[in-house]
Structure formats: C-alpha cells, structure tokens
Symmetry: C2
Amino acid sequence: MLSSYVCSDPNTSRVCVVMVGLPARGKSLMSQKIVRYLKWRSISAKAFNIGNYRRKANAHPSADFFALSNDEGASLRRLAAQEALNDLVSWMDKEGGRVAIYDGTNSTKRRRAWIAEQLSQHNIHPLFIESACENDEIILNNIMDVKTTSPDYKGVDPQTAAKDFINRIEVYRKDYESISSSEMISYLKIIDAGAQVVVNKVKSYLESHIVYYLMNLHIKPRRLWLSRHGESEYNVLGLLGGNSNLSERGMMYAEKLPELVANAVGDQPLTVWTSTLKRTQQTASKLPYQQIQWKALDELDAGVCDGLTYEEIQQKYPEDFAARDENKFEYRYKGGESYRDVVTRLDPIIMELERQENILIVTHQAVLRCIYAYYMDVPQEQSPWMNVPLHTLICLEPRAYGTIETRISANIPAVSTFRAKGELPQHQEPDGQNA
Amino acid sequence: MLSSYVCSDPNTSRVCVVMVGLPARGKSLMSQKIVRYLKWRSISAKAFNIGNYRRKANAHPSADFFALSNDEGASLRRLAAQEALNDLVSWMDKEGGRVAIYDGTNSTKRRRAWIAEQLSQHNIHPLFIESACENDEIILNNIMDVKTTSPDYKGVDPQTAAKDFINRIEVYRKDYESISSSEMISYLKIIDAGAQVVVNKVKSYLESHIVYYLMNLHIKPRRLWLSRHGESEYNVLGLLGGNSNLSERGMMYAEKLPELVANAVGDQPLTVWTSTLKRTQQTASKLPYQQIQWKALDELDAGVCDGLTYEEIQQKYPEDFAARDENKFEYRYKGGESYRDVVTRLDPIIMELERQENILIVTHQAVLRCIYAYYMDVPQEQSPWMNVPLHTLICLEPRAYGTIETRISANIPAVSTFRAKGELPQHQEPDGQNA
C-alpha cells in the first residue's frame, strides 16, 4: 500500500533523508536499515555515504583533519560532500530513485542550509534525521562494535583506532550544532536511541512512514527464531493452502520443537507467534511460552488455486502458471494474493518485531520467505524462490553490519515442498521415492 | 492485530491517557477521537471529562473560579478531579477497561505527579498528551466552533461566552506549566496542531500506536465520499465475492457518477481510491480524477463460500451460517476473513484518510460498512448489519462534535444485497419481483 500511495503524490515523491549527528551515533546503521526496509516495501532507496567519497582523497585521516579550522581537510570534505550529492541527484534523475539517504555528520546549520538549497533545485524534499546521544554506554558500544571496523582504520589495532576515533568525535563536537526548529526544515530528532523523539513539520505519507519506522527501532540485542509449521496432511498430498492438520511426521516435529528451542534459546524469555491456521498452532502446541495468533501470519492466499496441486494448476490455469513463474513476486492468484500483498500485510509485523526482543515465529513458507527477506536483504526477484526446508529452526541475530543466521535441523524427515522456476515440485518422499 | 498483541502484555495493558493543555486546545476532540478509534479496533476505551464532574458542583462558573488563588474554586476542582479519577479506576477494575482518557487541563507539574502516583497504585500506566498551541487562528476557531456550545455557557449569548472564555484561558495561563522531560513521564507533546511533535519515553505497542494515530490527525476541513461499486453480474445472480464485471445497470451508475460527484464536490481537488477488483475500477472508470488502487479495500474474503449464494451457504454450511448470524463481527469464513480481520487491514487506510483532505472511496459492502463505522461511531455488533444501498453516493464531513452525513441517490435501480439477521436476502429485482 505504501508504494501505491507514494506514486500518487509527485510533489513529495522524491525524498532525501539527510543524516545528522556526531560520529558513533548509529547514523550509518539507520541509513542501512531505512534502505533495506524501503526496498523490501518495493520503494527504490539508496544510501550515499560521504565518508566513502572523502576516503578516495584521504583514506586514513587523523582526527584533526576533521576540524573546521583545518583548511585542507575542510576543503576535501566539502568536495566529498558535493560529489556524493551529485551522485545522489543523478541516481534519482536517471534511475528513478525515490528515497536517497545522504549519510554524513552534516553537523552545522550552514551545511544543512546548503543541502536543502541544493536539493530544492532538483525538486527533492529533504527530511533531516538527527541522532543525538550523550549516553556514554551507547556511544562506547558503537565505537567498539562498529567504528573500529571502519575502512578508516583498516590495519590499525583496535585500541589505537578507538582512541583516535574518540579524538575525532571531540573535534567534531566543537563545531556541532543540533537541529533547531528555527531552521524551518522537516526533521526527526532521535535522542538517546529513542528515549525521546522530536518530529517537526513531517507531512507526506512516505516521510511519516519512515519516521514511524525509525521510532520503532531499538538497540537492545535480540534474536528472532523462525520455523515453518511441521509437515501437514496437505504437504504430504502435494496440495496448496487449506487448513489441514499436521501429518504424523509433522506431529513428531511439534513434539521435538520444545527441546530444540530450549537448547538454542537457553533460559531467556520468549514469545511465540503463530498464524490463525491449525498447522502452525499444532506445531507450537507443546512450547511452554506465551503464544499469540496473528491473521497477518497466515499463508499467502492462493485464491482459486487453494486446495489444488501444482500439476492441477498447470492444467487448469496454464497461463497463470507461466505468468507466476515469470514474476512470482508480483503475480496475484485469482481471488488471492501476491508476494507483494503479503509484504504489505506483514508491515505491522515487521514494525512490531523491531519493537520486540526475542520472538519465535511459526508460520508458512511464503510468509517466512518474506520475513526472512527483510532481515537478510534478499532481493524481491529471489525471495519467492528461496528454499526453506520443513522441520528446521532458523535463528536470525541482527547486528550492526548484517544479520547472523543459524539453522538447526530437527532431523525429522518431511516431503520437499520446494519448486524451482519452470519446474513442477519434486515432491519427493524423504526416502527419495516420489510421493 | 493490535488487540491480539495488547492482550499479551499485562504490564502495560492498562493505559490512562492524561490530556494536558490550556482550554480551547482541542483536548476533548482528541479524547473523543482516541476513544472512537480504539473502540473501532476492539479495544475498550472511555473518556472521563473532569469538567463534567466540576459542573455538578458549579454549573456556570465565572473565569476567576479557575484561578489557583481561588480557594473555593480550587477545592471544588480538586474534588471533581478526584471523583473523575475514582470513576476511571473503577471502570478499569470492574468493566475491564483498557484505555481510559482523563480529560482536563492538568496544567501543573504537581497535578500531574499526583495523577501518576494515583494511577501507579492501580497498576495503570499514564501517557500524558499535551496540546500546546499559540497559533491565534487555531485557538479562535476552537473557541468559536466549540466552546461557545459548552454546557458552561448554556443560554449565554456567544459574544459574552467567548469573552468570558478568553478570560478563563488567561487565568489558566498564569499557572500553566508545559510538560518537561524532567518530569520523567511518558508523554506526547503536540505543538500547533501537529507542526511539531515531541515523543518521550513511549514504549509499549498500544501507547506507540495511540501516538502514531494522533500524529496522523490534522485539523483542516475535509470531506470523505463513499460509494459501493455499481451493481455487478454477481450481485444480479445473488453470488458472493468473485471478481465479476458490472451489470448493465452497474455501468449506468459508472456513467452517471462523474456528474453526481461534480455536483456534490464542486471544483475542489479529489483523489479516488478503489480496490483491486474489477467492479470498483469499472465504477470509477469515468471519473476525471487521479485514482489509486488498494488491495486493503478489497471485499471481505468469503473463503470457501466465495462464489456461492446465501442459500447454498445455508445448505452446505448450515452451522457456519448460524454462527455468522450469532456474531457476524467475529465470524471468520473458512479460509477467509471476519469483519474484525477487515478492520485490522483497514487500519492503514484510516491512518491515511486522517492525513488526507478530500477522498472518494469506491469499494465493497463490508469494507464500506467498516469505514463508515469508524466515522459514525457505529458499535461493532451493528456495523455488519447496516444497509448500504447500491448506486448511492455518501458524503461524510467530520466536525468537532460529530460527522455530518449526506446521501445522494443516483436513481438507478439495482438488486438489494441486504440480508437481515436470521433471514436470507430478499434479493429483489428493483421492480419488486424476486430475481
């Protein structure tokens, strides 16, 4: 729905998110998350990191390079800012970009006024996002986790890197001006990683939705557990959709799941989310945690094809079968849904997952692919084709520079429901015989 | 989804929204909107207006009654505040209320600390919402539109009432303390009707969702136009769901709609929203306005009953037919949706409608009922039974104290698709013959 609406509002349809903040305030992490989220919602988005442009001229600067009073440094940094902005505008003009992120410190009023002026010439609306943080624990964590792995410190030992980096922050701080409402710009100010938030003159739907997304983020460590339901009677028969019970092997998975989860999770608190369909609830039925059912986690609705086999679909609706293979993300079953529709209805789930800490989701193949695609940044054209086996627990652990994935197999046989492009599913029994 | 999640978090499941602000800042209007929205989302909510309690002791106070220095006034107002709070807590305890609104000026730090203390004793989390506005135009509009109709000024002429009311605001202003972050409370501060917004320590999903809702509100005048699609081939045959074309009479409605809309709307800009189904798009096809398709506006999914007549449903699924009559809002078709599911997927539509000015929605019977129920505050048990005729344009104009409704018939005959509880639909041809 986001994308359909955004198209309708040409005046605010091109947005540049301008990051503002001292180093080690999580700006690049936020930039990456915004890009990943918007791409998942089918909105073209790209981040332009000014530091990467500056490194072309000076790969390993010392802290005082960043002082306003350092003429050579200031001039190189201005040049990098201009180059990054040129590329950003060019990407919007030539490649139809909708949301660009201009990632840098952008720490003075003068710099921000210059950016706003440049963007307005190209009919791009700026949304400034300031991360203001004076919580030493958060800053030190950022420095240790992220910044010592920065390209600026390649080959430098972490202690030296951290020390130099703290100096660099101090240099920046001398000239730093926090955004004030007198600047007459649209902005979001995030104070101490979300403890307080200020929203000023944010009007368009797209900008408001970006703001809402950022307001849901937190920085506490968390893990997300994903599992498909156990093998169902419909899986065994090779039928799509429905609301069947688990097969005997599916029930074995349900029986084993508590042990699997306990070993992996330890004694941390956990909440289990299932869909409203029987096969996910039966799969979760033995788990000793609080459970919540979400209609939004129900399987992709196959409409008229619900209850058919792929062979039957190919026979009854050969054109649809071919069209779906052509563009599986956009293809909408007659009377049913497309992957894009599923992503739209999963939006509140993603917002809520960002707010939570440890969640186990027991859901369905297509839904799991969409959630996985959000976390692992899987392109739209690939996500509907991912092979997600039955009877396997997946753990995703989001970190600053990517998400760590672990897969734990229950070693309980199940049919394969995977179908490669242009093929019918193998639908093999685990012993290799066709079912 | 909201409700399912809220149930899961007992620690933050009881929220008291405490309004803060000088008179004529739109607090009561916000209170009413929050209550209406939450009830629409199946969350029990109720507003407690301190002024109503105070009026029991002093129905027509003069402005200086409200000075902190007026001992009698202060004591009566304290008493009213305590009484309102007692009733609020008692409603939560005895009737399982989830969100109470404590509507008053609550204009000093001391008063707010007292409220927070009282609520914490009952395990109710306070969320303070301050409306801070120094825009004279907005304030004067509030005074003229709303406050001269206040019970305090019953029988007083509007000029005198307005003058006294402005004095009352000045009396309050002397002691007014805006919320500051040093108060260590969860709050939302809305400045000049949303030009700037400050969010502090808002953590739970329910509170965050209330904040998001309030951030989407604006106070510009707007009108919402609603229409069902024209009569469809399925309507004529008495079949549910599907994706059929318009009937001949349905096409006549599509042809006439531009004139109907132009006469009613005038030359104001308008945007048309349809569902992704053919019958709504065909209905809107002659309208000379920008059009957007939303999957979220598709008709309630009848699952296995899609394409059947009510008679067939009664024969094939007699228990379901009876269960649906018993609780039509909650009943979920096998493989399909309930009215509650439709409300959940309409949430982003309502948010977006609140952001917009003039929108025409061409959609389906059940979806229209849900949208209408939000604006007209129709209780859940009634909304699925509302009769919304075909070939009729409905105009809703939200005002401070309610929504004005106008219905414009196109005078083009159509079958009736209305079915009363416990009955089969009449499904009469417009000439009175059964189809």
